[in-house]
Amino acid sequence: MTTDKPEFQIIMQRPIDCTSKQLRAFANIVMIGEEIPIDNLKRGIPAAEMLFFSILDRKIVGVSCVRYANAKFHKHLFEKAGALQMYNPSSIEFCWLSVLPEYRGQGVWVGIQKARADYMEDRPGHAIYRVDNKHVIQAIEKYNFSQAGTAFYPDTGNDKVRLITQNHDPVYEPTKKLRYC
């Protein structure tokens, strides 16, 4: 009996470089979670900065993305969390991390998380997650996220959420920007 974990391949592509089949697969996997309205997803996927795909035997089994949220909504999150001083317009949102149910617990989540961290380098990022999502809590410290402010109910939903950040200054520093070196 073998205990070897399957080797998932992670690829990242900008939406403009994805085939329509890849984009459909991305949406279908996120929709399994039934947390995102399909219209938001259809509008949001092409506008993502980068899409991440976890692949096993040519099958897409997990996805995620990084994207710039609408600036008003982005700011709203930090206001609601009581951490407006941390709001950073350069901060990119990590979102839509979804794994097909039959592949959960096999390292897909971790693989995507690593690829995303490599891509992001030291760029500021943020994410929101439902307070009752126990799976995410364990990963927060492991991947150097910290909670911004307090949990809150956003204007866009009924679930209490936490805002977590990575590479954010305690107070936004406007002289910092993206540099190539």
């Binding site: 900008r14 939406p15 403009i16 470089d17 509008r43 092409p46 506008a47 710039y68 949220a69 609408n70 600036a71 008003k72 350069s90 380098e121 030291d122 760029r123 500021p124 590479n167 910092k176 920007k177 993206l178 540099r179 190539y180 070196c181």
Partner: protein
């Protein structure tokens, strides 16, 4: 006339502001509305220059399709300069009635401040004397030689800024 330039991500622009953008770009007669609308979601930033409530000129920054991006550097004879981090500066358009009033310069200055040292590139029609003038060019260096691409009949120049002569894969985008 006091000019102001705003740089916004497309998701932060109202529908009417996007329509103004389209109107100004299509006024040049080189782009069709459908293609611009299709490309909006893939655009990193839209750049608006105007005075008061009047938008007089626009530009955009976007990461082009990778295969096309690479194709440009191959066609110019400099595939080694292809840099996947390079962002394209495009759709620079000023309404005819506002040309010669500093709109283009204002737009360009704001764009350069926004880009900092990030690699970027642009393609220009060689016959467009308004934007192809090697003596006045301070932003870009010409990449290789002019060429005719499969996207149209015009002879094009590829220009690049903050590109290494040979792409250095060790370099990345950092926040500091």
């Amino acid at each position: 006339m006091k000019l102001k330039t705003l740089i916004r991500r497309p998701q932060d622009c109202s529908v009417s502001l996007k329509e103004v953008f389209i109107k100004i770009v299509t006024a040049g007669g080189e782009m069709d509305k459908a293609r611009i609308r299709y490309s909006f979601p893939y655009t990193d930033a839209l750049i608006f220059t105007g005075s008061g409530n009047t938008v007089m000129g626009v530009g955009a920054l976007l990461h082009p399709k990778q295969s096309f991006h690479r194709h440009l550097f191959e066609m110019a004879g400099k595939p080694e300069m292809y840099n996947p981090h390079s962002i394209e500066s495009c759709w620079i358009s000023v309404l005819p009635e506002y040309r010669g009033k500093g709109v283009w310069t204002h737009n360009r200055r704001a764009k350069l401040a926004h880009l900092g040292n990030l690699p970027h590139h642009s393609i220009r029609r060689i016959k467009n004397k308004n934007v192809v003038n090697p003596d006045k060019e301070t932003q870009y260096e010409q990449v290789g030689h002019s060429f005719v691409s499969h996207i149209g009949p015009h002879e094009l120049l590829l220009l690049a800024a903050n590109h290494d002569p040979v792409f250095d894969p060790e370099k990345r985008i950092y926040y500091c």
